[in-house]
């Protein structure tokens, strides 16, 4: 007999800063690698996608318009919250990915450190990727990188937290808002991450987390006119061509991703940040 019965958590979606159930009322069971029941996850629908995109678009002006310093502080706060829930994440990652506790802990620690790395980028992007342009005329011309808008992320299917953080943090650091479809079979760390985001001063709607099938939801996101960019990492390689074709209908930026899920422990380059940035060139005449 256990001393007490634990309080089980209902895992819901994260849309516009709130934690709703799927409007479809659908759920699917999530199991650990040994087939033991862990929880029911919300099975997101097309309408959930629509709501999430609307929330992300609404949040874009505020998040992209915040100062880079402010965005950096909010993202660093997320890392602080992650650190506080280190044990919880390690447990969920170990159960989801069927890896030993020590390995799960290491993945969580790398995820936290990755988040800190990107948090520090917010106020350096313009210095490193922008320019004063030496044009041949009496003009001051400069180029600043700006966020592209709403980014749809099909999160990695295998790496439930480190992979997710590695694809989400650059989107936010660049000033974009995000709609994420989590790993289908390993969604629990993603929902717990949403709880962290909700308590870390990240404005509602900046990140919207959907659990469900990338194969089902990806096409709605790829074709959505209010989505500016797509990360197809979590889609099956055979599905990525069709997603890219759908994305062409609104000239979306589609991230180039490797065939297989990469080793997320490797330190990233600036490729992801650059994909979600639009260099803007401004000109003004000089004279007296």
């Amino acid at each position: 007999m256990p001393d007490r019965v634990s309080v089980a958590k209902t895992y819901k979606l994260y849309i516009g800063g709130k934690f709703p159930r799927s409007e479809s009322g659908r759920v699917y069971p999530v199991h650990d690698a040994k087939g033991r029941f862990l929880a029911n996850a919300a099975h997101s629908s097309r309408k959930d996608v629509r709501d999430a995109v609307a929330a992300a678009r609404k949040a874009f002006a505020g998040w992209s318009g915040a100062t880079a310093y402010n965005r950096g502080q909010v993202l660093y706060r997320v890392a602080e919250m992650l650190e506080g829930r280190r044990e919880q994440f390690a447990g969920e990652v170990a159960a989801s990915e069927d890896i030993p506790a020590r390995k799960a802990q290491s993945a969580v620690d790398t995820a936290i450190d990755r988040w800190v790395w990107y948090a520090g980028w917010t106020d350096k992007i313009a210095t490193v990727l922008g320019a004063a342009n030496p044009v041949a005329g009496p003009y001051f011309s400069f180029t600043v990188p700006e966020p592209t808008g709403v980014v749809a992320i099909l999160a990695p299917q295998r790496s439930s937290l480190l992979g997710l953080v590695s694809v989400l943090a650059p989107v936010l650091a660049a000033g974009n808002t995000a709609v994420v479809v989590s790993s289908a079979d390993r969604p629990l760390p993603a929902i717990t991450l949403s709880e962290v985001l909700a308590t870390a001063d990240l404005p509602g709607g900046v990140v919207n987390m959907l659990t469900g099938r990338a194969a089902e939801l990806g096409s709605w996101l790829a074709a959505h006119a209010n989505v500016n960019a797509l990360d197809p990492t979590g889609a099956e390689p055979v599905e990525r061509g069709e997603l890219a074709r759908l994305a062409a209908g609104t000239v979306k930026r589609v991230l180039t991703v490797p065939e297989d899920e990469p080793d997320w422990t490797q330190r990233p380059d600036l490729g992801r940040l650059r994909t979600y940035l639009e260099p803007k060139t401004v000109w003004h005449p000089m004279g007296v």
Partner: protein, 477 residues
């Protein structure tokens, strides 16, 4: 109206060294293309200028193979410092032959000689000069140590700035160590084929640059060729989407520079006479055949009447006619097809209830001409406010507050360029920040420079051309 008439000051067409026929340039040689030859017209007179051989699917394949061979055996292995010297040579040769190129461009395209002479050709040379210097400094481009070229680039360019768009495409590709197969536009292939001669004069290794004239089917062969590593396209959003769809799911890297419907925002404190010059330059430069043209004038309500009066007077002084006359401000529309599209859209503007004003300037009887036209009382829902006209047609809308100006300016799926006219510095910077466009001109318009990145947001495409940022399009980084 002006009190004085101008005496004609035509540039001699002999300077163009026009030949009766031109041929594709593949593997360092001019070859007989097996495609159906096309006839390129002088749009100002509708006479045939020359017959141009086109590239069939087999010719495109030969060109890609030549480019692959040149890439593997020569160009990608050559030290950057040596590559640079070839690109510098090209810049100098364009400068040396600038008069010939300018006249040829005006004959084939219909643009005023003043523009081809003072803008298109010198800026094309500047692009080669600028990028040549990058060839041995790519380690400093911020893309990591030793960035690698992609391989063979397939490039497709439009008819509005034939030589300049070629330079925008070829200069960065060569500087970064790629080789090129370029398709010029069907209606303006001639300067690209003179550029091929320049490549020969520069002793550029055979196959590094290949020019394959043809229509859309030639472009599709290039886009779909399996041995192409990179596609760069400038043209309409409609075709850009087709190309993005074709390339989807392949390893080909893509950059697109597509259409636009730029807002040119004039506040009530703007210096109106300067603004009028900027508005005129923004929409009537190059007959309005400019993807970043300021085709939507957003005027603050309190100055719209005064601004329209000044604008109509200024536009009525623009001289329309012979592109080779140095006095000409507005030349010929590039093709009968484009003229029909401009007419169709302006008719829709009248049908939807906008007020049309057209310059009373004389219009030549032959050739494709369209008098500068200004629509006022335009609503955002009208086609002339939403669709790219790509002609000398301006749509005037109004706003009351800066927030309304931003909302209206950004109310478009495009996002290539925008203009701001105001004396208030803080407002310029705030507006520049709010406008969702890749290029923002404040108290100026239509400025281009190889050192300044150019390209769009949203459905105006992705990727940039020019500056350090532009190098990313041709490097594996």
């Amino acid at each position: 109206m002006p009190a004085f008439d101008y005496a004609p000051a035509p540039e001699s067409r002999d300077i163009a060294n026009l030949k009766p026929s031109y041929r594709p340039f593949i593997g360092g040689e001019f070859v007989t293309g097996s495609g159906e030859p096309l006839k390129t017209l002088n749009p100002a007179t509708e006479e045939v200028l020359a017959e141009v051989g086109t590239a069939s699917a087999a010719d495109v394949d030969t060109a890609v193979q030549a480019a692959r061979k040149a890439y593997e055996r020569t160009w990608s292995r050559m030290p950057g410092a040596e590559r640079a010297k070839y690109v510098f040579r090209i810049a100098r040769l364009i400068q040396e032959r600038s008069r010939e190129l300018a006249v040829l461009e005006s004959l084939d395209n219909g643009k005023p000689i003043r523009e081809s002479r003072d803008a298109d050709v010198p800026t094309a040379a500047a692009h080669f000069f600028y990028h040549a210097g990058w060839a041995d400094k790519l380690d400093y481009a911020g893309l990591g140590p030793d960035p690698r070229p992609l391989g063979v680039a397939g490039q497709i360019i439009p008819w509005n700035f034939p030589l300049l768009m070629l330079a925008w495409k070829i200069a960065p590709a060569l500087a970064t160590g790629n080789t090129v197969v370029l398709k010029p536009a069907e209606t303006t292939p001639l300067t690209a084929l003179v550029f091929a001669e320049i490549c020969q004069q520069a002793e550029l290794p055979p196959g590094v640059v290949n020019i394959v004239p043809g229509a859309g089917d030639t472009g599709a062969e290039l886009v779909n060729h399996p041995d192409i590593d990179k596609i760069a396209f400038t043209g309409s959003t409609e075709v850009g989407k087709l190309i993005q769809r074709s390339v989807a799911g392949t390893r080909k890297k893509l950059t697109l520079e597509l259409g636009g419907k730029a807002a040119n925002v004039v506040f009530d404190d703007a210096p109106l006479d300067q603004a009028v010059e900027g508005i005129v330059n923004g929409i009537f430069y190059n007959q309005g055949h400019v993807c970043c043209a300021g085709s939507r004038l957003l005027a603050q309500e309190s100055v719209v009447d005064e601004l329209l009066a000044k604008l109509r007077y200024r536009v009525s002084t623009l001289r329309l006619g012979d592109p080779l006359d140095k006095n000409t401000d507005i030349g010929a529309i590039n093709s009968a097809e484009q003229l029909a599209r401009i007419r169709e859209l302006t008719e829709s503007g009248e049908a939807e209830g906008a007020d049309r004003w057209t310059s009373p300037c004389p219009v030549p009887e032959r050739g494709f001409f369209f008098a500068p036209t200004v629509f006022s009382g335009v609503q955002q829902s009208m086609r002339i406010a939403r669709e790219e006209i790509f002609g000398p047609v301006l749509s005037v809308l109004t706003f009351r507050t800066p927030d309304e100006a931003v909302a209206k300016a950004n109310n478009t799926p495009y996002g290539l360029s925008a203009g701001i006219w105001t004396e208030k510095g803080s407002r310029i910077l705030w507006m520049a920040n709010q406008l969702r466009a890749g290029v923002v001109w404040a108290n100026t318009f239509n400025r281009f420079d190889p050192a300044a990145p150019f390209g769009g947001y949203q459905e105006s495409g992705f990727g940039r051309e020019g500056g350090r940022t532009g190098l990313e399009a041709y490097l594996d980084a």
